[in-house]
Symmetry: C2
Subunit: 189 residues, 2 copies
């Protein structure tokens, strides 16, 4: 093994991880982040977000040379043309991705070598809410069920502790379970 394989675990640079944590401990203002998405309607249900710039660690990020573009839409049964996943499917992806990254990072910090993280998330809703046909069902998911399978070179109990810690520290799990205030400003014309 060379120095590179020694510091990397689970594809994460452990030395950089611990240096980052030390830096934020010393200068907590570096932990301020602002993430952004800009969206443009195309036609019908079809719309596209552009994601590139964000603020973090005291500066605007310059690491991304190209923007990410994400198409969203609805399936035909919801009056779209399947030009992309729909918004609630993107929300499930956001939650799955955040929990998965959290598991990978916590495992790395604790010296656990992972071989797989797989998950399936499902969310149930009654579309009468979003269609405006009833005030009784809420518009969004009534509940989300996430089923994870995690494998690694540690005893089951230790892997379960990693997943539990990841849940406790996941940004999107916090947002989705606790909610967050959203202010909407509208300009017309």
């Amino acid at each position: 093994m060379n120095a590179v394989t020694d510091t990397f675990r689970n594809g994460v640079d452990r030395e950089k991880m611990f240096a980052t944590l030390d830096l934020i401990k010393a200068q907590p203002e570096l932990a301020r982040f602002q993430f952004r998405a800009t969206n443009r309607w195309i036609s019908g249900a079809h719309n596209r977000s552009t994601i590139k710039a964000f603020y973090g660690a005291g500066a605007e990020d310059a690491s991304r040379t190209e923007a990410f573009e994400l198409d969203a839409a609805e399936p035909e049964i919801l009056l779209g043309a399947n030009d992309g996943p729909n918004p609630v499917e993107y929300l499930l992806h956001s939650l799955a991705a955040c929990l998965t990254i959290s598991i990978a990072y916590v495992a790395t910090a604790r010296g656990v070598e992972l071989t797989a993280i797989e998950s399936t998330l499902a969310g149930d809703l009654d579309a009468r809410g979003a269609f405006g046909l009833s005030d009784e069902p809420r518009n969004g998911f009534e509940h989300i069920h996430a089923s994870f399978r995690v494998t690694g070179n540690a005893p089951e109990e230790k892997i379960r502790e990693v997943v539990e810690r990841a849940r406790q520290r996941s940004a999107v799990y916090d947002i989705v379970t606790n909610g967050v205030p959203v202010a909407i400003e509208v300009a017309v014309g």
Copy 2:
């Protein structure tokens, strides 16, 4: 104008929209939907979701011939390699997309012809929460600010009413502002 341009408005089939609403009014059980995402960790922060099947209108959907694949990751400053947008950026996209579709659909139902819907969403967070360095800042966004610009062939007041109704009926706005219970089941090995 032919029959096709008469029924379509804003790229949405109005006849199909009203027929769908009538059908759900008559058979509310058709409004039950379950959406899903399956995620697989690749390495480090990099992971990928596959989105295809869902249940709705009394059956498994068969309209999607191919699955959507979404890559998520983190930027370098958050110990990733920019292999995709990060989870909280996906959440902003999910919210932007849902509000945009809701605006397009409400406008269509009310006979308003839109020419543009553009939005920028920004979310602020203190990464000490997600990094496990402090219990004081929450893990997720403290607040989200959405700035919309909407143009169409109706008086400003009517367009503002469309946007307000869309906000009231958006599935993701409901989830993100009010929260939803998430159950996590873990299998090890």
